[in-house]
C-alpha cells in the first residue's frame, strides 16, 4: 500500500474520534469509512432537514450538499464522496469537488496506488468514463463494466455504440456493443460484452463476450480467440502480460483456457475467479470439483478441504507462496489458508490479508454482530468485541498489525506487536 513505511507503526492505541458525539451533533450519521493508515474516519452526515455534509475526524467539510453518499478513501488516503447540488452530481476529493458536473455520477474506482480515480458519468443521456474529473470526449448510449488499468491512467468499458429501441431483437442479435478503451471503441461489435481486464502495463485489454446468442469467447484488443465456448467468465492477463487466461465451459465441464486453448486438464463443475501469483508461476481459482462442493484449486490441483455452501474471496499472498479464501458450510463461515481451515466458524468472515513476505495472515470475523481478528489461524486475544472493524493491515516488515475499529462508540487506531 502506498506510503506504508511512513505510517505511524509505534505500538499503542489512540482514540481518533468519538462517534457518539457525531451522533449527538448531527441529525443522522451514515456508514463510516477509514483511511488506509487508520488516522482518519469519515461519514456522510445529515446536517439539516435536507442538507448533507461529510464529517472527517469530527470536522465537517466546507459546504453543504443536497446529497452525499459513497464515502470512500483512496489507497493513497484521499477522502472521496459522491455529492449532488441543484440536481447535478460530481465527486468531491478531500473537500474539493470535480468541476465537471453530471446528471448522474457513480461507481468511482481507485487505481491500485490511488493516484487516479475513474467513475461513470451521465449527461444528456450519454454515458462517459470520467477520470480525475475529465470525461471521455465521446459519450455512449450506455456504458457498463467500467475497468481501470492497474496504474489508473487508462479506462475501458462495455459500451453501446448503435442506438436500439426495446423490441428490436434482431438488431440486438447483430451486435450493438463493443469495448471502448480510453473512449475509443473497438472496430468490431458483439452481442454482449461483460467483464474485462487490462494487462499489467495497461496497454492491452481482454474482455468476455458473446458473439451470437450461443457462442462465447474472449476478445483481446478487439480480436476474438479462434475458439468459442458454451460460456466463459472474466479473463485475466498473466503478470508478464503475454498471455490471457479465462475460465471456459467446454464439453460440459469448466476448465481454464489460455489464449484460446484448454490449459488445465481437469474438468470442474464450476471454475471462476482465477488469479495469478505475482511472478506468474502459479494460478489459483475457485472451483467446484463436484456438484455442490467448493474449494480452491492451485495449478489444477484442488485442495482436499471442500465446502458445501460456497467459497469466495480468493486471495494470493504478495510473495505468491500462499493462498487463502473464505468458505461456508451449513451457514457457518470459515477462513481458509493453504487448504487448512482456521480456528472456529463464524456468522461472517472476510478474506484473509497477508504480510508482504506471506509469512503472516490475518482476517476479520463476526459473531453476533461483534467483530474480531484471527491471526495465523487463531483468535487474536483482546482484539474482539468491536462494534465495527476494518480488515487489519500488516506493517511492511510483518511484525506489527494495524487494527482499526469502533468500540463503545469510539474509533480506535491500534498497532500491536505480533513478532
Amino acid at each position: 500500500m502506498n506510503g506504508m513505511h511512513g505510517w505511524d507503526w509505534e505500538i499503542g492505541r489512540r482514540e481518533i474520534a468519538d462517534l457518539s458525539r457525531w451522533k449527538a451533533e448531527y441529525k443522522a450519521v451514515h456508514e463510516t469509512c477509514v483511511s488506509p493508515d487508520g488516522e482518519r474516519i469519515a461519514a456522510p452526515v445529515r446536517t439539516g432537514e435536507t442538507e448533507f455534509g461529510l464529517c472527517e475526524n469530527g470536522e465537517l467539510w466546507e459546504g453543504e450538499f443536497d446529497k452525499v453518499w459513497y464515502a470512500r478513501y483512496t489507497p493513497d488516503g484521499r477522502l472521496t464522496a459522491l455529492v449532488s447540488e441543484m440536481g447535478e452530481w460530481t465527486l468531491a476529493v478531500d473537500g474539493a469537488a470535480w468541476e465537471e458536473r453530471f446528471e448522474f455520477l457513480w461507481d468511482p474506482r481507485f487505481s491500485k496506488e490511488g493516484g487516479h480515480i475513474t467513475a461513470v458519468g451521465q449527461k444528456g443521456r450519454k454515458y462517459y468514463a470520467v477520470t480525475d474529473g475529465v470525461p471521455w470526449e465521446e459519450g455512449f448510449d450506455n456504458l457498463t463494466n467500467l475497468t481501470q488499468s492497474p496504474d489508473g491512467s487508462h479506462a475501458a468499458a462495455a459500451v453501446q455504440i448503435i442506438p436500439m429501441t426495446e423490441g428490436e431483437i434482431f438488431k440486438f442479435q447483430a451486435g450493438v456493443y463493443t469495448v471502448a478503451v480510453d473512449g475509443q471503441p473497438w472496430p468490431r461489435n458483439f452481442v454482449n460484452v461483460w467483464e474485462m481486464s487490462f494487462s499489467p502495463d495497461g496497454k492491452r485489454v481482454a474482455a468476455e463476450v458473446r458473439i451470437n446468442l450461443y457462442d462465447y469467447t474472449i476478445v483481446v484488443d478487439g480480436v476474438p480467440w479462434d475458439t468459442v465456448f458454451k460460456t466463459v467468465w472474466k479473463p485475466v492477463f498473466s503478470p508478464s502480460g503475454d498471455e490471457v487466461t479465462a475460465p471456459v465451459r467446454a464439453n460440459g465441464k469448466w476448465t481454464l483456457a489460455r489464449n484460446g486453448a484448454l490449459l488445465w486438464k481437469r474438468g470442474y463443475t464450476q471454475l471462476w475467479h482465477h488469479a495469478y501469483s505475482p511472478d506468474g508461476s502459479k494460478i489459483a481459482a475457485i472451483v467446484a470439483p463436484k456438484y455442490g462442493r467448493w474449494t480452491v484449486a492451485v495449478d489444477d490441483t484442488p485442495w482436499n478441504l471442500t465446502f458445501g455452501d460456497l467459497v469466495t474471496d480468493l486471495v494470493i499472498s504478495p510473495d505468491g507462496g500462499r493462498a487463502g479464501c473464505v468458505g461456508k458450510e451449513k451457514e457457518r463461515w470459515s477462513v481458509v489458508v493453504d487448504g487448512k481451515r482456521w480456528y472456529g466458524d463464524y456468522d461472517m468472515a472476510w478474506g484473509p490479508v497477508f504480510s508482504a513476505d506471506g509469512r503472516r495472515a490475518a482476517a476479520k470475523v463476526e459473531t453476533k454482530k461483534t467483530y474480531g481478528i484471527l491471526l495465523d489461524g487463531k483468535p487474536l486475544p483482546e482484539m474482539d468485541g468491536f462494534e465495527v472493524l476494518w480488515s487489519p493491515v500488516f506493517s511492511p516488515d510483518g511484525d506489527r498489525l494495524l487494527v482499526r475499529g469502533i468500540r463503545e462508540g469510539a474509533y480506535i487506531r491500534e498497532v500491536i506487536s505480533i513478532s
Binding site: E31, K67, N142, E166, E168, I169, Y177, L213, Q270, D309
Partner: protein, 454 residues
C-alpha cells in the same frame, strides 16, 4: 363431490368439436422459423437430447402412460372446454414426444408450433405433476422444448427482448445503472417526507440483509420499494440494497431456455450479496425469481442450494409478525381472498405462512377454491405474460377458469385479491379487467404498509 369432478363431468358430457388452432403472428417465432434448416433442427435437437436432458427426459417420456389424468390440472384445458390439445399430455404429445420419436427430424413449421405451445400455452406451473400418477414433471418437458427453441432462435419477440435486457443490463427492464441508483435515492427522499430518519442504505457492507427486487419495481412499481423501506425501517432491521447490477433477482432467461444466461444472472446476484457480506437475501413478492434463485439458476452454477440463504417476502413478513417487529394499528377491513403463486407454494410450500400473514393484517379472509398447492395458476407465470401483447388474449382467454374461481370468491364477499407475486399481479389484473370482475388487487406489502403502526 369436488368442484373439479363436477366440472370434469360437464366437460365430458359436452363432447364438443373444438375450433382448429391458428398460429398467433409473432416476429420472433415467425422470423426465427424462417431461418431454420432441417440440418440445424436435427443437430440442435440431437445435441440437447444427447448432452443435456439425459435419463430424466427419457424416463418421463417412457413412463407417461397417456392416461390423461393431468388434463384436469391445467387451466388452459379447463378454459378451452376440455380441448385435449390444451391438456398437459396433449401439449407433450404435440411437442417433445414428436421430437423424441422422430429423433429431431421435424420441420420448421413443427418447431414454430411447438415453440408457441411451450412458450404461450404452458405456465410451467407444475400443477399437472401433482395429478400425474407418476409425478412426471411436465414443466421440465416444456422447458426442454423451450431450450430447443432458444437454441434454434425461435422465441417470441417480447420475452426474447426481455432476455436481451437481462444479458446487457443484468435486469429485465433495460434499467441503466444510474437509473437504478437514482430510483432508490428518489424513493428514499419520498419516504423521508413521511419518516424523516428513514433510509434506503446503499452498498452497506456487512448489513444482515440484502433486499433484492425485480426489474419492474424501479421502472413501474417504485412505491413497492418505498413500502419495503418503511417496513424495514419500522422493523429495525439491518439491511442494504446494492448500487450495482445484481440487484434484480428476476430471470426470464430461465424461461426462454437460455440456461447460460440464467447462470450468469444468478452469479451476479449472489456475488453481490457475497461482496457486501450480507448474511441473507430477502426478496420482494415475486414467484418466478424465487424459482430462479432457489432452484434453477443456483443449481445450474453448481450451488446445490442458494449460497446465500434466500428469504421470500412472505417468509420475511411472517418472521416480522412472529417476532413482533412490526405491529398492526388497525387491520384491513375489506374482505380479501388470497391467490397462491405457483412458484412459492408448489415450489416452496409457503401457503400456510401466507395465510398467517393475511390473518395478521386482515379481518375478513375468504378462501378461494381450489387453494394452496391446488390453486390455479394466474396464467402469467412461466414467462407467458412476457410474451407480450401478441399473446395477451390467448393468455387471458386461456384462464377463464381463474376468472370463475375469482368470481366464486367474490360471490362469497371478497372484494380484494391478494397476490404476493409480480407476474401473478400482471396476469390477474388482465383477468379481472377482461372478465369485468371489478375486484381490487394488492400485494401483501401494500396492505402491511397501510395497516402497520408507524
Amino acid at each position: 363431490m369436488t368442484e373439479t369432478v363436477i366440472r370434469s363431468r360437464k366437460i365430458k358430457e359436452k363432447k364438443r368439436v373444438y375450433p382448429p388452432r391458428r398460429p398467433v403472428p409473432d416476429l420472433g417465432l415467425d422470423k426465427g422459423a424462417e431461418k431454420l434448416t432441417p440440418e440445424r433442427i436435427e443437430s440442435t435437437i440431437r445435441s440437447v437430447l444427447d448432452n443435456e436432458t439425459g435419463a430424466r427426459l427419457k424416463v418421463y417420456v417412457d413412463t407417461c402412460a397417456h392416461c390423461g389424468l393431468c388434463s384436469e390440472a391445467c387451466h388452459f384445458f379447463w378454459s378451452h372446454d376440455g380441448d385435449p390439445s390444451y391438456s398437459p399430455a396433449g401439449k407433450v404429445k404435440q411437442t417433445i414426444s414428436e421430437i423424441v420419436k422422430k429423433k429431431g427430424k421435424v420441420d420448421a413449421d413443427f418447431i414454430r408450433g411447438a415453440a408457441e405451445i411451450a412458450y404461450t400455452e404452458c405456465n410451467l406451473c407444475r400443477r399437472c405433476s401433482m395429478y400425474c400418477p407418476f409425478g412426471i414433471d411436465i414443466a421440465y418437458m416444456m422447458l426442454t422444448v423451450r431450450r430447443i427453441a432458444h437454441l434454434l432462435g425461435v422465441v417470441p419477440q417480447y420475452i426474447q427482448d426481455t432476455a436481451h435486457s437481462h444479458s446487457a443490463t443484468m435486469n429485465q427492464m433495460w434499467v441503466k445503472d444510474d437509473e437504478w441508483i437514482d430510483s432508490l435515492l428518489w424513493q428514499e427522499e419520498e419516504a423521508a417526507e413521511e419518516i424523516p430518519e428513514l433510509r434506503i442504505p446503499l452498498e452497506k457492507e456487512g448489513a444482515d440483509i440484502l433486499y433484492s427486487v425485480i426489474g419492474p419495481e424501479p421502472k413501474f412499481r417504485a412505491q413497492l420499494i418505498y413500502q419495503a423501506a418503511v417496513i424495514m425501517h419500522e422493523a429495525g432491521v439491518d439491511w442494504t440494497m446494492p448500487a450495482t447490477p445484481g440487484w434484480d433477482n428476476s430471470d426470464m432467461c430461465m424461461y426462454t431456455g437460455d440456461n447460460e444466461m440464467m447462470g450468469r444472472l444468478k452469479k451476479v446476484h449472489f456475488e453481490t450479496a457475497m461482496r457486501l457480506k450480507n448474511k441473507r437475501i430477502v426478496m420482494g413478492e415475486c414467484g418466478h425469481a424465487f424459482r430462479s434463485i432457489f432452484d434453477m439458476g443456483n443449481r445450474w452454477l453448481a450451488w446445490k442450494m442458494p449460497p446465500i440463504p434466500v428469504t421470500h417476502a412472505i417468509e420475511f413478513y411472517a418472521e416480522l409478525f412472529r417476532d413482533k417487529k412490526i405491529k398492526v394499528k388497525k387491520k384491513f377491513e375489506k374482505p380479501v381472498t388470497l391467490h397462491d403463486p405457483c412458484n412459492i407454494v408448489r415450489g416452496r410450500g409457503l401457503h400456510e405462512m401466507a395465510r398467517y400473514v393475511v390473518n395478521e393484517i386482515c379481518t375478513d379472509f375468504i378462501e378461494m377454491h381450489p387453494n394452496r398447492e391446488h390453486n390455479f395458476c394466474c396464467s402469467a407465470g412461466g414467462g407467458v405474460i412476457n410474451t407480450g401483447p401478441p399473446f395477451r388474449n390467448k393468455r387471458v382467454e386461456g384462464n377463464r377458469i381463474k376468472a370463475e374461481q375469482l368470481f366464486a370468491a367474490k360471490s362469497k364477499g371478497a372484494q380484494v385479491v391478494i397476490a404476493p407475486c409480480h407476474n401473478c399481479h400482471g396476469g390477474l389484473e388482465d383477468i379481472i379487467h377482461h372478465y369485468n370482475l371489478k375486484m381490487e388487487l394488492k400485494f401483501l406489502g401494500d396492505i402491511i404498509y397501510e395497516v402497520m403502526e408507524r
